[in-house]
């Protein structure tokens, strides 16, 4: 047996200039970062105050930093995709090869969902939930830290594929048979599997943690029907994680058995069935989109009353709607493959179940609107993000209902109309919702507010950029343009150039947001905020008794590092490394001297 498994010197060879550039960039950035930490003397401080911290606030901030770094990567990928499609109108074939383009859209999707959107919501949840239910911390602070470091390990595995080997080129959900060894012989799909296995377990642990926290650690007298809406929607979201993520773990494990052990769960031959993969992965995948968006619905339920200076309208309806969405989101996954050929009855039932979700969602929107009604609305940036959210989300909701009608979906499925729809929901809902929550809660943790002027600039640039980047895709979809094309028909090029301009505007918006952070930190004296700058009545704004320092432990981070090594061992078939990493992690996790739960 080979000590290095399937790894060899050739694994480091990248074939294209762009890939080589990325490889060099990652190596330089990683070594540069480590060297800087060591020689600037910050490492010690970083280790004591942050990396080993079990404080939910610090863990929350680290999640957000992870999302920020991976967001830059995801945006860089989006830029490559957009510029390729804008320039690759036949007979020109642009500057990316077909294989490389596929790797990039796969990486973009995976990174944005698992390592940007998920860390964003876990960051917010970590920061706010304990304060909102007024508990000292989460139920299991050590597991909380473990979740963070496992997520980081997953993210590192994705980036390691830039240096050694390559990433999956089979899309953000690797449908077999394409993702089977026969058609994807490289290590790309294995990187995908192990990055997601590790990050998936992290999400599951977090869900257990926050469910326990919300159920058992609420302050005295906070009954369920007294919980703030953000706590409710987090509860819904974490319930979905609890029931959905085990499915992901199983389906990825089966795919790995196929690839590494020659089994036949999802192959076309010897009794395997690729349709089963599609079915199972979407049984996780649809709840996943609600896992992402539900907490942001909660954010808006906090933001709108605060800036309208009025109580939230229809609290009970809101709770009912949240729980209805939670339950319904498990009953609709078939809408992702109406075109697989199921019978009309099956398709119709799942189509109708899908559009039923529009009912509680619509109710939520009306309740927010009627919170504004007879209010006194101040348009600080969080409220602007709410306006942006409703304006865009309604469009995405309408196209979503269209896609849920099987007869319409036959013509829209797998086209860029679909790409426009889900970006519409994710950017309008999750991303804008996050910005609202971030700006809203920022002063709670930093002690000063973010610069309003730059915030408004960022808002207008984001909304414009989003519309310019994605509305053309709806039209292109109706023109018959399918997704994932590295070369395109010349008749589509004008609109693709418009979409690329939209992305440029989004990049400008992000630049303004970075400037906003820098400027605000610099002007923190002037932006100094009292303990409740927006005059909110929500519990998290009331002053808290000082928390006695929680203790620290580096064990979680060590297990994270081991998970990275173990995942790397799995990818390259270095079984000894995987087994060793797992064994050492288990020892660290179980042995009493290291126990810090």
């Amino acid at each position: 047996m080979n000590f290095f498994g399937t790894l060899s010197i050739d694994s480091f060879v990248q074939t294209s200039a762009v890939a080589m550039g990325a490889q060099v960039f990652v190596i330089v950035a990683a070594t540069g970062g480590v060297l800087w930490l060591i020689f600037s003397g910050t490492l010690d401080w970083l280790w004591r105050e942050w990396l080993t911290s079990l404080d939910h606030k610090r863990i929350g901030v680290m999640y957000l930093i992870l999302a920020g770094i991976m967001g830059v990567r995801g945006l860089a990928d989006a830029t490559l995709l957009r510029t390729q499609q804008a320039t690759a109108a036949l007979p020109s074939s642009g500057y990316l090869s077909a294989e490389h383009f596929a790797e990039i859209f796969s990486a973009h999707g995976v990174i944005m969902i698992f390592f940007v959107a998920m860390p964003l919501i876990f960051g917010l949840i970590n920061l706010v939930i304990p304060l909102q239910i007024r508990s000292r911390d989460v139920a299991f602070p050590f597991l909380n830290s473990l979740s963070l470091w496992l997520t980081v390990a997953g993210a590192l595995l994705v980036n390691a594929s830039l240096v050694v080997g390559q990433f999956s080129a089979a899309g953000w959900l690797p449908y077999p048979p394409l993702s089977e060894l026969a058609f994807s012989p490289g290590v790309g799909v294995d990187y995908y599997i192990w990055a997601l296995q590790i990050a998936g377990v992290a999400s599951l642990i977090s869900a257990i943690n926050f469910l326990t926290t919300i159920i058992t650690m609420r302050t005295h007298g906070m009954r369920l029907m007294h919980m703030p809406m953000f706590t409710w929607t987090t509860l819904g979201s974490m319930l979905l994680v609890l029931f959905a993520f085990p499915l992901l773990t199983v389906v990825l494990a089966l795919l790995f058995f196929d690839r590494a052990l020659g089994m036949h769960f999802f192959t076309s031959t010897l009794g395997g069935n690729p349709m089963m993969f599609v079915n199972l992965i979407w049984a996780w995948g649809h709840p996943e989109v609600y896992i992402l968006v539900l907490p942001l619905f909660g954010v808006f339920s906090e933001v709108v009353p605060t800036f309208s200076h009025k109580k939230l309208f229809g609290y009970t309806s809101m709770v009912v709607a949240t729980m209805a969405i939670t339950a319904l989101s498990f009953l609709v996954w078939v809408h992702h493959f109406f075109t697989m050929g199921a019978g009309a009855n099956v398709n119709a039932v799942f189509g109708i179940a899908t559009m039923a979700i529009a009912i509680p969602t619509g109710v939520k929107i009306f309740n927010w609107l009627f919170t504004m009604f007879r209010g006194r609305i101040v348009f600080k940036t969080p409220m602007l993000w709410f306006m942006g959210f409703v304006s865009t989300f309604v469009i995405g909701g309408m196209t979503g209902v269209l896609l849920s009608i099987p007869g319409a979906d036959y013509q829209l499925h797998n086209s860029v109309f679909l790409v426009a729809h889900f970006h519409n929901m994710i950017i309008g809902g999750v991303v804008f919702g996050f910005f609202a929550g971030f700006t809203y809660w920022f002063p709670k943790f930093a002690g000063f507010t973010l610069d309003e002027r730059l915030g408004k600039w960022a808002f207008w640039l984001w909304v414009t950029g989003f519309l310019v980047a994605f509305m053309p895709l709806y039209a292109l979809g109706l023109m018959g343009m399918t997704r994932r094309l590295y070369v395109v028909d010349p008749s589509w090029q004008p609109l693709l150039i418009v979409a690329a301009v939209g992305l440029a505007i989004i990049l400008a918006a992000v630049a303004v947001q970075i400037a906003q952070l820098v400027v605000s930190v610099r002007n923190r004296e002037r932006l100094h905020a009292g303990h409740n700058p927006w005059g909110s009545h929500a519990p998290e704004w009331a002053p808290l008794p000082p928390v006695d320092r929680t203790h620290n432990t580096g064990v979680a981070m060590c297990i994270g590092a081991l998970a990275f090594l173990g995942g790397f061992g799995m990818v390259w078939h270095m079984w000894w490394l995987a087994i060793l990493a797992l064994a050492v992690s288990a020892v660290l996790f179980i042995l009493p001297p290291f126990k810090h739960v």
Binding site: A169, S268, P274, F313, G314, G341, G375, G397, M398, H413
Partner: protein
């Protein structure tokens, strides 16, 4: 925009459905947009709207916005039920079963079409008569794909070991773009075809001319097609007997191919 301005009966029904559903949804969406901007303007801090900070509950109002979306979804749901049955890709377009059959194989990265009633085959292009129901019997001998001719109607997946039928028909003669809709590997973007709809006479003439050609789709020729790569268009005058059944059946140990 072939999806909204199509050339086939199925696609026409589908585009009508898209338009109808969009209009229905606007019943809810337009008020939302209106209320959003009206309230924002009317109740802005410097505005003249009345301020009632504790008005947070009204059973009647809430009933309205539970009821209105429910009504709309009931209507849309009924529309979904009937349209899904009407547009079921497996349902024959004409009761008599007089459809022309075209067998379709998604290969890495080419489309192969067999015409069992005529004994011919074509690669990367397909020709059908207008005003005639056509039953495409779709399978794959490659990673899963999806067969889509936007001007004629919606798509269906092409999967190994299975036959997925799709019924379409073209109203008027013309050349329509056919595409792969489900990512199938590196050659995916180059894997498309032209569908020509011709009048019955022109179609018959075309079939006769193909039959006069020399190309034969034999087992070795087919094996070469299975090698990943893109290819030009080809017409085959004859096809080896039983080829399609063997393509579908190769994935099964025994028994007949799964039919949907």
């Amino acid at each position: 925009m072939p999806v909204l301005f199509p050339h086939g009966v199925v696609a026409s029904q589908e585009s009508a459905l898209i338009v109808q559903a969009t209009l229905l949804m606007l019943i809810v969406a337009l008020p939302v947009f209106f209320l959003l901007f009206y309230f924002a303007w009317r109740y802005r801090a410097s505005g003249r709207g009345r301020h009632m900070p504790n008005w947070s509950h009204s059973r009647f109002d809430e009933l309205i916005w539970w009821a209105v979306p429910i009504e709309i979804i009931l209507v849309l749901g009924a529309l979904t039920w009937t349209s899904t049955h009407m547009l079921d890709p497996h349902k024959p377009l004409s009761p008599a079963g007089d459809a022309m059959v075209v067998q379709v194989v998604a290969l890495p990265w080419k489309w192969l079409f067999l015409y069992p009633q005529y004994g011919i085959a074509t690669l990367n292009f397909v020709e059908i008569p207008t005003q005639t129901p056509v039953e495409f019997q779709i399978t794959a001998d490659a990673p899963m794909n999806s067969f889509w001719v936007p001007a004629l109607g919606g798509q269906i997946y092409a999967m190994p070991g299975m036959i997925n039928p799709l019924r379409l028909s073209a109203d008027s003669p013309g050349d329509y773009h056919g595409v792969s809709a489900n990512y199938s590997g590196a050659g995916f973007a180059d894997m498309h075809f032209n569908l020509r709809a011709a009048s019955r006479d022109d179609f018959d003439t075309w079939v006769a001319s193909v039959r006069k050609g020399k190309g034969v789709l034999s087992a070795p020729v087919y094996s070469a097609l299975r090698v990943p790569g893109v290819a030009a268009t080809v017409a085959y005058a004859r096809v080896q007997r039983g080829l399609f059944d063997r393509i579908v059946g190769q994935f099964l140990d025994a028994g007949s191919p799964m039919r949907h």
